[in-house]
Amino acid sequence: MSGAFRLAGRGRIDTARPVVFRFDGRMVRGYAGDTVASALLAEGRHLMGRSFKYHRPRGPVSAGSDEPNALVGVGEGGRYTPNLRATQVEIHDGMVVVSQNRAPSLRFDIGALNTLAAPVLPAGFYYKTFMWPRGFWDKVYEPLIRRAAGLGRAPTAPDPDHYALHYAHCDVLVAGGGPAGLAAALAAGQAGARVILCDENVEFGGSLLVDTHSLIDGLPGMTWVARIVAELERLPNVQLLTRCSAFNYGPHNMVALNQRLSDHLAAPPADMPRERIWQVRARDVVLAAGALERVLVFEGNDRPGIMLASAARTYLHRYGVACGRKAVVVTADDAAYRVALDLAEAGVKIAAIADLRPTPGGPVVEAVQSRGIAVLPATTIQRAHGHLRVTGAELAPIGADGTVGRGRTIACDLVLMSGGFTPSLHLHSQARGALRFDDALGVYVPGESVERVRSAGSCRGIFALDEVLRDGVVAGLAAAGGETGPVWTVTRQDAPGAGGFAGALPRRGPGHLALAFVDFQNDVTAKDVKLAVREGFRSIEHVKRYTTTGMATDQGKGSNVNALAIVSDVLGRTPQEVGLTTYRPPYTPVTFGAFAGHARGDQFDPLRLPPMDAWARAQGVVFEDVGLWRRARYFPRAGEDMAAAVARECRAVRGAAGIFDASTLGKIEVVGPDAAEFMNRFYVNAWTKLSIGKCRYGLVCRDSGFVYDDGVVGRIATDRFHVTTTTGGAAGVLNMMEDYLQTEWPDLDVWLTSITEQWAVIALQGPRARDILAPLVDGLDISAGAMPHMTLREGSIGGVPMRLFRVSFTGELGYEINVPSRQAQAVWDRVWQAGAVFGLMPYGTEAMHVLRAEKGYLIVGQETDGTMTPGDVGCGWAVSKVKPDFVGKRALALPAMNAPDRLQMVGVLTDDPQEVLEEGMQLVTAAETPVPASAEGHVTSSYFSPALGRSIAIAMVKGGRSRMGAALYAPRLEGPALKVTLVDPVFYDPEGARLND
């Protein structure tokens, strides 16, 4: 057996499988089934961490997920993880574990000097100082505080592991696999319900894992557990999950579980997720979360070697570890007596049991006494001695009047404490369940909830094993709608502990310098809590925030009730009046990566590729993200930068022809007898007179009157419109259309279908566009006379069905060839080949932007920012004056929407034709404008125009249309402002001759 404190023949570890790992560089031997804490304890080592504020040496106080002290960093490189509880980390060969928050070493930590300064570092000290001299806060004090704070170091490499998510549904979710949870799950499962049972531990059993005394149906606890688990496994309607914590109780019984799959394995399979989050929608939930033993608050209660009595019992029975040679037990509860008996039986000397109660009694107390163990009634622990390990406990009598007399020190290397048990209410509270203070038990228990949830067993204050099992069955049946459930007989059970203690233990003298910890990790003492109350923080939430008690990584599991009791004591109010702080999810910390789940890397968000994406990639395109789409931005040739490539692409379109993948434009087919009426109501434009085969530019406003989207609309038939939207606006426009149609105008016979991805759009633009296209279309006359600008024709191109739009966003003769997406690349290839002799070039979004800016066409989202009216952007002409109503009409009539000083879209030219303004530049009236100043407007689009051989820009300027020719200035971030002149925004071919060619 490795480890001087390992007890042969005990524990649930596998002594046939030794495991070696490193702790702070040193080899530690343990066994499969050990945790880091149990393996170190087996070597007699309690010191495992340092506290947050005072850097006090600390050992494990618990054996589970409530551990505040023994936090360690585990793993290396990308798999290093800080702040894990040594009490939960299962060891495996080669594991690397480091202690935290200490320098240079765990045994000698320079930060422990903070303990000496403790008198001037009470709760909230930082609110009262570090204010002088001003300026020192950022530069001196805060960096110091930050370096001292924090626990482990943050990871500095990307995590190579992957994580999973699973949505599950069940009739009954049972959270907690102790006796109550097992009973509930079996009762519900046998009643035929779909059941999920989860437990955060490695195996089911809960308190039965360490109860070697009680018998169920004549069987030892763990034998019974094995039998029940086997029965549950046989039920096809029951899902069992271990290493799986229910951590978040959301609205409508959506409970999230965190399942840990691979951390305990030395060499997990490559595809195994590290963790999986289960999002469980349960019709009913049974909470069987158990209860946690409370620590006692006394001077020096944080010394390594001082732990919860139940923890020592766990280390003994689950890991075969004696946590010391000679123990002193301090208790206010009967349960600790059973622990003392178990330890004594295993060879640990119990030096004394100090019981805070005046007259402890009952079978278990008598059993202890009959073993010759000294039981000291009405006795408190005045203080614990020792530094890196407890060396003794000073026990002192409590007089009838409550005063504490002189005590004596008993040498020991282990102090076990038990303040009684606190029901775990976290999930119930997260379910917005009320909490009720049970005066008899001295603890809060669950009240009503709006959710379909019930608690069972010790998490609702039921502690006797037979009652716990019955309670579990009742809860399971109620949740499942079953009528009869299993019945078991419990023998040899200990009576539930009476008594319990919360708050600071009675002591002799004021103890002004004594440090008695309420919250171990955050180093909050009883004095801190009292100070907070003295300073007027009377709400328990204020006390929590001012002292930080309950805000450590254990979220106050061990400290909240003691803090509450101290506050209640100082204020002279009942605990019910003081109340509890809100329980905030998660129950235990959950990995960020687990929340991210499958959404990672390229799969973080859908990447939508337009139909000609592969072709563009083969051309060496540079892409840009537009919403979820990846669009071709420009097609550089060897040696070209963006400016050169874009200039070449623009020249090609103006001089010959360009081809552009416009498929991402949103498209909606509006069909039905009332289609035109719907269009009239929805768009600011009028549609009734648009004849079949004609197109019109459409503008959408919200009812606020502000421009929302735009696009060309073609009329395919009397009852059928082909509507286009912007790329980014596609989903929004369709949703807004459905909203008005379904809720305002349900009488209209018109229906909407998204056809964005049905039709790929090949834009062919430029003076040679017709020459290229004409031979390709099947029997369709696209001559200027037969198919003028803003018309559409249905037909086919090389046998592929086609909706051909003669439209232009470039100012050139142009077509948008709509073909079914699957055949788009073939059509594109034909056009591309046909265009070669005409100098056809592909162009991207950047050239498209330049070309449209030369024409003064706006881009919604670039010229507009959600506060522009149609009139502001020069589209007042599109707004129908005669329609009785349309979306936005009422708001557009407001005086403010027609004020003369509104921002209006204008063109802007710099004095220096080579100077390209930066988009976003502000415009002011004077060359030298002292700040702060108000802007006259701002630049929305700015490019070098190859067609004009100079820079051009579009701006939104106050009253801009009446200021043509005026000079304004664009201040730069560095250097003098640039002088600009306001001009008409149509820079190129203002007559539109090229369009109508």
């Binding site: 930082y126 500095t156 979220q555 990995t591 968000d605 919403g627 912007t726 980014g728």
Partner: protein, 417 residues
């Protein structure tokens, strides 16, 4: 007021800290005050402080239905910045930022204002356009904001992933160096302590149940769970409960409340030097003095007063954090919570008179109220004291929704192409 300093701390230490007095007086409500502030969060307490300090109006009560600063003051991610796009907004937030810069000294309470800088990260060409417009607009308004290349962004915040091959590469960032974070509770407590010292009565556990008015319609006081209290003026600064309180005076507001969730990681040693915001992928992160990564999630879509929301909202945020800062993938969520944000249609606040004489409202701060705390408090106090708005908050009326003069910061950042 007991002076707070290193010296007083040391002196009290010798007296074993028994000499500290309550930071604010615990009082029984008087029958009448000149002014009642409804809502004991940072904004309300601050308004009371500035009314007393700057306008000499000390016969004031702040009534709070629960515990002081237990609402959104206690639930936000403490980001402070003033780099808003529109001049009206940036002036308002800059007014607040300037007050933040002297607040610890002003209140003799260390509010831990840490000017760590705030990066607004751009991931698309459109983001770049929008943020550059912010930079130019802010600079013209005398507010610091600068543009960083991806490499400069990485230098300012080394944990950021600026690889060009990720789903949303970092194309640059706008940096406001004067932006940062502060300790949220301290702001409220500091205002409470200073206001109390000037004679303001701070009344906790006192819920307003009605607003009394005379026949002319003017307010005369409030009904509360601790009895009626008379007052000549009432300033409502009730955040998520603004609609509920104003309804007592027959006023409907252009507000919708939504849950807003936030979370922190377990504390770690300093690893993240500034505030980073990404609007495109919805991630907001900074590291607190304690070492926790403080992360803001998005709002749940629906109206709710429950102070909780769906887990998918923070999960989505963490997806984004894990992409932006992949080293943090193994950090763990320690604590999450929800607040009730009061959102206006244009996502800008209201700090204004109401149509009821003597009744004033400061609301609609949505997800951005904390950063404005001293500024909103200061201007709300001005508005109440003078019965007219300060020029800075003059545009932030209720009437703007009637006349169409919206200040739409949210729409300004919207994506379309």
């Amino acid at each position: 007021m007991q002076k707070f300093s290193a010296f007083s701390l040391a002196r009290q230490a010798m007296g074993r800290h028994l000499g500290w007095r309550p930071q604010w007086r615990s009082v029984v409500p008087k029958p009448s005050y000149d002014i009642i502030i409804v809502g004991g969060g940072g904004h309300g307490l601050g308004a009371a402080y500035y009314l007393a300090k700057q306008h000499g109006l000390c016969n004031i009560a702040v009534v709070e239905r629960g515990w002081l600063a237990g609402g959104n003051t206690a639930r936000n991610t403490t980001i402070i910045r003033s780099n808003y796009l529109f001049e009206q907004s940036s002036s308002y937030y800059e007014h607040a930022l300037k007050l933040w810069e002297g607040l610890s000294e002003e209140l003799n309470y260390n509010v831990m204002f840490s000017q760590r800088g705030c990066l607004m990260v751009a991931h698309t060409v459109h983001d770049v356009q929008v943020f550059k417009r912010h930079v130019y607009a802010n600079r013209l308004n005398g507010i610091d904001n600068e543009w960083l290349t991806p490499e400069e962004t990485k230098a300012f915040c080394p944990p950021l992933n600026i690889s060009p091959n990720i789903r949303y590469p970092v194309l640059g960032a706008a940096l406001q160096r004067r932006a940062g974070t502060a300790r949220h509770d301290a702001v409220a407590w500091g205002f409470a302590r200073a206001a109390s010292d000037l004679g303001v009565d701070i009344i906790e556990n006192c819920e307003v149940t009605g607003i009394d008015r005379d026949p002319s319609g003017k307010v005369t006081g409030v009904q509360t769970t601790r009895g009626p209290i008379r007052a000549g003026k009432i300033g409502v600064s009730a955040a998520g409960h603004s609609s509920v309180v104003l309804a007592m005076a027959g006023i409907r507001l252009p507000l919708q409340v939504n849950p807003l969730q936030a979370l922190v990681s377990e504390p770690v040693k300093p690893a993240f030097p500034c505030v980073v915001m990404s609007n495109t992928i919805h991630a907001y992160i900074s590291q607190s003095d304690k070492g926790e990564m403080v992360i803001g999630a998005g709002t749940d879509s629906y109206v709710s007063y429950t102070q909780r929301g769906g887990l998918h909202i923070p999960a989505h945020t963490l997806e984004a954090i894990c992409e932006l800062v992949p080293d943090f993938r193994r950090l763990r969520m320690l604590r999450s919570w929800g607040g009730i944000t009061d959102n206006t249609p244009d996502r800008s606040p209201i700090t204004a008179k109401t149509s009821v004489p003597g009744l004033y409202v400061n609301c609609g701060w949505g997800t951005g109220g904390f950063k404005a705390t001293p500024g909103a408090a200061n201007l709300f106090a001005w508005t109440i004291a003078r019965d007219e708005p300060h020029p800075i908050n003059a545009p932030f009326t209720i009437e703007r929704f009637r006349d169409g003069t919206l200040i739409d910061e949210a729409a300004a950042a919207a994506v379309a192409h």
